[in-house]
């Protein structure tokens, strides 16, 4: 156990305190901006979202209680600021709900754009070689990988996994019914990689993002690929407070460690 872990366990606080509420709000806001800014789906922040949803639920109850009290004619001393308090609480709730909604919809948009890519990524292993390859009844749905277990598969949450699977099944059936059924059987698959080019497209990790460096120094890396096995570290370092336009793949790990934020 190193000193950071000890500090973390001391600093880790009870999620019901106001400070923890403020911190979670900041984390959610930063995650939302990052999810909006990068091309690929970021890992689902499960515990954070659970805490946020729980707080939203409790806040709605508080607002309903307060509204009921203020509408009750039998209360003897009406509080003059109840209406103001109510409108503040409702505005705050609407702002949080907006952030959550925008975040979830952005994730769904990424999932539907690259549905096959994410399905292949979360599937337990390579597909068993299809025996129906030569048969005439090959269908586009056959390309959909089966999921090993129900539940969350990083980077997706459990509901997103269910959505993605249902979405791709519907889409494949529709393509099949609409036009793929009239194609020769070997042309019907949705994950064809004939000629060395895969039909399954993923998000482009080399797209540029804008980041701010939050620690003393962060170096941009070039991840392995194109025959180079190890990651190569770039020549110059971002210094604290710097805002840079860099490739997302070059700062993805630093983002995971919380050392840069996406703007």
């Amino acid at each position: 156990m190193d000193i950071d872990d000890i500090l973390a366990s001391v600093d880790r606080h009870d999620p019901s305190t106001p400070e923890s509420t403020a911190l979670d709000h900041q984390l959610l806001t930063r995650f939302w901006v990052a999810e909006r800014g990068v091309s690929e789906l970021l890992p689902w922040p499960g515990p954070l979202m659970d805490r946020m949803m729980d707080r939203v639920r409790r806040q709605i109850e508080t607002i309903e209680d307060l509204a009921a009290t203020s509408a009750d004619p039998t209360t003897t001393t009406p509080n003059p600021t109840t209406n103001l308090t109510l409108s503040i609480l409702q505005t705050d709730l609407a702002r949080t709900q907006y952030t959550l909604r925008s975040l979830l919809r952005q994730r769904l948009a990424k999932l539907t754009t690259h549905s096959m890519h994410y399905l292949l990524r979360i599937s337990p292993g390579p597909l068993p070689p299809s025996q129906s390859q030569d048969r005439a009844d090959i269908r586009p749905e056959d390309a959909i990988p089966a999921l090993g277990t129900a539940g969350a598969h990083p980077p997706l949450s459990a509901p997103e996994v269910a959505f993605l699977h249902a979405h791709q099944r519907l889409l494949a059936t529709h393509y099949g019914d609409a036009f793929l059924a009239s194609f020769p059987p070997q042309l019907r698959r949705l994950d064809d990689n004939a000629g060395g080019t895969s039909m399954v497209q993923g998000p482009e990790g080399r797209e540029v993002v804008f980041v701010r460096c939050l620690v003393e120094a962060v170096r941009v890396v070039v991840p392995p690929g194109d025959g180079v096995e190890a990651a190569v570290v770039g020549g110059t370092a971002m210094r604290m407070g710097d805002v840079w336009a860099v490739r997302w793949e070059g700062v993805r790990d630093a983002w995971g460690r919380g050392e840069v934020e996406v703007l």
Binding site: D5, A8, D11, R12, P15, T21, A22, H25, Q26, T29, R30, V33, R36, S39, P45, P47, L48, R51, M52, V56, T81, S87, I88, T91, D92, R95, T96, Y98, R105, A109, L111, R206, V208, F210, L214, V215, E216, V220, V221, V222, G225, D226, G227, V228, E229, V233, G234, G235, T236, M238, M240, G241, V243, W244, V246, G250, R257, G258, E259, E261
Partner: protein, 269 residues
């Protein structure tokens, strides 16, 4: 269509973020403390000052329940000082004036000191470093230490314009302020446009282009253009880059590569 907006936060979303900046108000009426989803709000007791998120301060201001104390940078004197930095100094001819330091970052003139970032820990045990809009860059301060230079915060244009719209009677010389904000904006826009030459550095792997000091809305406006140019350059240079990578792989296989030697140099904007 699950989501119609383009990638990267759009200007309305940027002003939504700017509304989370903390500002100082002078309440005109009492209000008990509230537990909001964005964090607790301290009780309002006139004539004691309080720090609130901008959206809440604007809501109270519109109902004439509070006055907003403008941040020290939103003063004609500070703004013309920053405008001088942006236009007069050779050092800042192509770059933006420096942003306010993050917590732990040394002030501008003692460059010798090292930056020390101290993290907080999230409930999940991860490190968290605060950044705008969650730093007190827009609160009013009675006493600004003389060695501290005036700087433009990340959300300067949004906060400035929102305060000019809703609370111009709380500002010092609002017309002068508006004019200076407009001038600053034009000077900085010209810098963004003239910096296109440097963008090639971000198109290569491991390289990047520094835009330090840029404002949120300026980034929002330039985002489509900058990322479009960089991605276009990347596609044009893709085969060249791949050839270089293959050369590198060969060199590494021969054991002759020194990982620190790299010709992607930082380019200043």
């Amino acid at each position: 269509m699950a989501f119609p907006l383009p990638r990267g936060i759009t200007p309305p979303e940027i002003s939504f973020l700017a509304e989370m900046e903390m500002v100082t108000i002078l309440p005109r009426q009492r209000l008990e403390g509230l537990e909001l989803l964005g964090g607790p709000v301290e009780p309002l007791i006139p004539p004691r000052r309080a720090s609130l998120p901008l959206w809440l301060a604007l809501l109270l201001k519109r109902q004439r329940r509070a006055n907003i104390l403008p941040p020290s940078w939103l003063h004609p004197e500070s703004l013309s000082f920053i405008l001088d930095i942006e236009t007069q100094y050779e050092e800042y001819k192509d770059t933006f004036s420096p942003p306010p330091p993050l917590p732990g970052q040394p002030l501008l003139h003692d460059r010798g000191e090292l930056a020390v970032a101290t993290p907080r820990y999230t409930p999940d045990g991860e490190k968290y470093y605060a950044a705008p809009p969650f730093l007190p860059q827009n609160v009013a301060r009675d006493h600004v230490p003389p060695q501290e230079l005036q700087t433009l915060p990340f959300h300067w244009l949004e906060v400035g314009n929102m305060l000019l719209d809703a609370a111009s009677d709380d500002l010092v010389e609002p017309d002068q302020t508006r004019r200076l904000l407009k001038e600053l904006r034009e000077v900085r826009m010209a810098k963004i446009r003239s910096g296109v030459d440097a963008l090639d550095a971000a198109a290569m792997g491991g390289g990047g282009v520094a835009l330090t000091g840029v404002g949120a809305i300026e980034l929002g406006e330039g985002r489509r253009f900058i990322s479009g140019v960089v991605d276009g350059l990347r596609r044009i240079g893709a085969s060249r880059e791949q050839a270089r990578r293959e050369e590198l792989a060969e060199e590494m296989a021969n054991g002759g590569y020194d990982a620190t030697q790299d010709d992607d140099d930082e380019m200043e904007f």
